[in-house]
């Protein structure tokens, strides 16, 4: 009831505020004042509905929170659909196969000989999926903030561009080299900031990305300056000449492979000694080192591995675009990738993939709303922080299998 009252108050207030704008209009031709009362009604109804919905959602969220804090085993009680999926290996395998098959046939379904726009869009989106998965290691798993992640992407892209143009090296030789260069720069960045936390970490990583961009812009004898590097060769396919469409599809499969690889590697690491150390570092640094985990080594490996994926996919980016310049690697991109990790749910692989696809594909297909892009982006961020601060998908922890025989034996002993 209080909701209705309060919403009514808000609606009245809005009606009053918008009165001069929405209701009163001076018709300059007939020199009359028009009173558009129906507009006022409209404003009132809309404001009321929004205010009511807002309060309703807040209350629901609060009661849910209260419930959770009363509940000793919230995870056990109410499995979400992702948890149910993960708990059922047959079902999850089927879903995985279906998604995989769809991803395989996708480029042939949406492209024709002349028009392969959708494939190219998907390639860009998948590149960002890999970037999201990479940053997920550094930020999501190890909890190390990195606002300059795009710099490693640039390192990979320029590595390929330079090696291919000056030494004529092929795409497949450069792919691992780009990844390794990314990892190397990850360590280079990681060393000086081992002891930093929070705000300081944010500033230094931001600075690192700026320095990278400035070097690329100004050292034009090597990196081509602001004009960048053009005519970068496309990925080669055993020396076979490909048509435009085939090239796009081929690149699509390459990135798709990298996505699969990134998912596989991250999953493996997450459930290993290394991944657990990363997470422990994220949860409590002091407890982590007190339990015998080498902080320096753990942090550096998280930076290096995160940067590795950026470097790797940077090579693909350069090859896919034919052309790179420093403007391809702005702070906005770093922020975008970070948003993918945060929106997706820190540490959650599935969440990051969904968030990355959504954040890259939506603006592409909603060009009509291009002007409101940032507005919508901001609104989504704010709403997410209010209603799902943990991200789209909760990071699930694997259930380890221990000897059940021993377990029963133990129960019997009690």
């Amino acid at each position: 009831m209080t909701h209705v009252k309060r919403s009514l108050g808000i609606a009245l207030w809005f009606m009053f505020l918008t009165l001069p704008l929405m209701v009163v209009r001076v018709n300059t031709v007939s020199r009359e004042i028009e009173w558009r009362w129906h507009n006022m009604a409209l404003v009132g109804i809309c404001a009321f509905a929004i205010a009511w919905f807002w309060q309703f959602s807040i209350e629901r969220r609060m009661s849910k929170l209260a419930q959770v804090s009363n509940d000793k085993h919230p995870e056990l009680k109410k499995p979400t659909w992702t948890q149910r999926l993960a708990a059922d290996p047959v079902l999850s395998r089927r879903v995985l196969i279906a998604v995989g098959a769809l991803a395989m046939v996708f480029p042939w379904l949406v492209s024709t000989g002349q028009n392969f726009y959708h494939v190219n869009v998907m390639v860009s989106a998948l590149i960002f999926v890999v970037l999201g998965l990479g940053l997920n290691i550094t930020v999501g798993l190890a909890g190390l903030l990195d606002l300059g992640y795009i710099a490693f992407f640039a390192v990979g892209a320029y590595t390929y561009a330079l090696l291919a143009k000056t030494f004529g090296m092929g795409f497949w030789t450069c792919l691992p080299l780009g990844g390794l260069m990314g990892a190397l720069f990850g360590v280079v960045l990681g060393f000086p900031i081992l002891r930093l936390r929070g705000d300081y970490l944010a500033i230094v990583t931001l600075g690192f990305a700026s320095i990278t961009k400035i070097v690329l812009e100004n050292w034009d004898t090597v990196f081509g300056g602001a004009a960048g590097i053009a005519n970068i060769p496309r990925p080669d396919f055993f020396g076979v000449e490909l048509t435009g469409r085939e090239k796009a599809v081929y690149t699509y499969y390459i990135v798709l492979g990298l996505v699969a690889l990134a998912v596989l590697v991250t999953t493996r690491l997450k459930n290993s000694r290394i991944g657990r150390a990363w997470m422990a570092l994220r949860e409590d640094e002091i407890a982590c080192v007190a339990m015998g985990v080498d902080m320096a080594r753990t942090k550096l490996s998280a930076y290096a591995l995160g940067a590795f994926w950026a470097g790797l996919v940077g090579v693909v980016f350069a090859a896919h675009n034919n052309f790179i310049n420093p403007d391809s690697f702005t702070f906005m991109d770093s922020a975008m990738i970070l948003a993918m990790v945060v929106l997706g749910g820190m540490g959650s692989i599935l969440g990051v993939i969904i968030a990355a696809l959504a954040l890259k594909l939506m603006p592409e297909y909603l060009r009509a709303f291009a002007e409101y892009r940032m507005l919508v982006f901001g609104a989504v961020m704010v709403l997410m922080m209010i209603f799902r601060p943990q991200g789209l998908i909760n990071d699930m922890r694997r259930k380890y299998e221990y000897d059940t025989a021993e377990r029963e034996d133990d129960d019997g002993g009690k």
Binding site: R273, C288, Y400, D403
Partner: protein, 268 residues
Amino acid sequence: MAANDERKKLLEVSGLTMDFGGLRAVDNVGLDIYEGEIVALIGPNGAGKTTFFNCVTGIYEPTRGDVKMLPPGRPARRINGMKPNRITELGMARTFQNIRLFPAMTVLENVMIGRHCRTSTSIVDAIFGGRKAAAEERESIDKSYQLLKKVGLAEVADEFSRNLSYGAQRRLEIARALATDPFLLLLDEPAAGMNPQETHELDALITRIRAEEKVAILLIEHDMKLVMNISDRIYVMEYGKEIAQGTPQQIKENPKVIEAYLGEEAHA
């Protein structure tokens, strides 16, 4: 205690001093621990007990003094200034007064972090998942699970540690510390926040751990009944200084201790 002199010494702290700016939190404190002992460190709040722990375990670097570790079967090491993880590797593990678990990890995973320094799977091993890595992982899980059974948390192994009760969290911290295979275990107020029943069980648990895990234990504790019950020797601190040491009986009768420690309790 004459009997102690024949036993092997495990930890030797002498002249330990820790300054925070103008505040001398620990002032010239010495302490020895011998094999198989349970030693208690008591004193009023703010006496510098936790700071002493932090200096010994490498969280702080002491202003002055010596901390020497004598691992059984290995050469003695001076450990002040060493990183905490190195000290843990050498065989000293601890728990925290203000519980420091990894809340978004499961109970079992919390303990498995303790196994980190005793395992060696590298990034490459983890990615390619060879037989050695799998075996090591298996061993890690089994050992951790055994420890959970020991502290009575096997049933909640898959829960997030943040969902545990206070007492259970303290026991989980003990299991996690034991997972590092220590020969010395430092417990900072393990009974704080526990109810009398839980405290009673903790009493039995600590004695059992000493016997089964072959660790010597140094514990900070305010619960006098627990301390007097299980300790072989007691050190008393006040305002950073060590004011007494001896057997529980000696400490009970020490007038300085009665004034400093029990006096405070009478006021409180």
